[in-house]
């Protein structure tokens, strides 16, 4: 029946989407030193991508006022003034996207001063997308299978 073919098609598509997860081999951990520039109201680079297990050293450089850097999840922080760099070292054991926030009030948009730390592979993201697709397929199956009373 047309409906069943459609459903099979969806399942195949979902499997293809999930393939990256199956194939995602975590890279070998290395030492990384990253320089982050802080200015009102963002970080440059805005995103840092590292691999699980990497030992990261961040050097924070401020170009205008006193800024901070706090990393969600890892709960580590440092701060920097112009001419006085900050430094932070940690091992990226947890995967996923972690928000880096400014931890020193630095101006009106301080609460919105944000950067991203991405520790690959992002199992959490793949897993949630899988779940969402599963819910989608499940709902289609559910409504198309139910018999009328």
């Amino acid at each position: 029946m047309k409906m069943d073919k459609l459903i099979i098609g969806i399942i195949v598509l979902a499997l293809l989407v999930g393939l990256p997860l199956i194939l995602a081999q975590p890279e070998e951990p290395t030492e990384k030193t990253i320089i982050i520039n802080a200015q009102q109201f963002s970080y440059t680079p805005g995103t840092i991508e590292v691999n699980k297990g990497d030992r990261i050293t961040i050097r924070l450089i401020s170009t205008d006022v006193h800024h901070g850097l706090y990393i969600d999840g890892y709960e580590v922080s440092t701060d920097a003034r112009p001419g006085q760099d900050g430094s932070l070292t940690f091992v990226a054991n947890e995967t996923g996207k972690f928000v880096m926030r400014c931890s020193v009030t630095c101006g009106p948009f301080h609460p919105y001063m944000i950067g991203y730390l991405k520790v690959k592979p992002d199992y959490r993201l793949f897993g949630s997308i899988w779940l969402a697709l599963g819910i989608f397929i499940g709902s289609i199956l559910l409504v198309s299978r139910r018999q009328k009373p």
Binding site: V65, H66, T105
Partner: protein, 136 residues
């Protein structure tokens, strides 16, 4: 109708208390907190946003004063009178929206510099003023 009139009056009083009363209570509390000592209200802003609200502060030798420094800016500031050895306790920094308080009795007369002690802007070095202490 008596009961209804009483209800109405009580209601009105409650509204008055909630609005004017709240404002009044706040102002009274502020008065109570800082009363007693001569209090100088100093507000801190980076030079490009207004600098100190007072460029000159006059004091009398022997008369105790309180300097209340309100940081109404969006970055941290500091305060010190280096020549008199006066500075803020703790980190020496007043965060935005916070207040630093210094109480002292001037012993010497003269003209002294007061300055912000926290890097707050590219024009931080211009964030200064004068304290003038005279005889009575």
């Amino acid at each position: 109708m008596e009961k209804k009139q009483i209800m109405e009056i009580v209601a009105g009083i409650l509204v008055l208390l909630a609005t004017a009363g709240t404002i009044g209570a706040a102002l009274l509390y502020e008065e109570h907190l800082w009363g007693g000592l001569r209090t100088i209200e100093l507000t801190a802003q980076a030079p490009e946003r207004g600098n100190w609200n007072l460029q000159e502060i006059h004091m009398v030798r022997g008369e105790p004063v309180r300097i209340k420094i309100r940081n109404i800016d969006t970055v941290s500031h500091g305060f010190a009178i280096p020549e008199l050895g006066i500075s803020l306790n703790g980190t020496g920094e007043i965060k935005p929206g916070n207040v630093g308080v210094i109480e002292f009795t001037p012993e010497k007369t003269g003209d002294f510099l007061f300055t912000c002690t926290t890097w707050c802007s590219t024009r931080h070095m211009q964030m200064t003023g004068r304290i003038i202490i005279s005889e009575k």
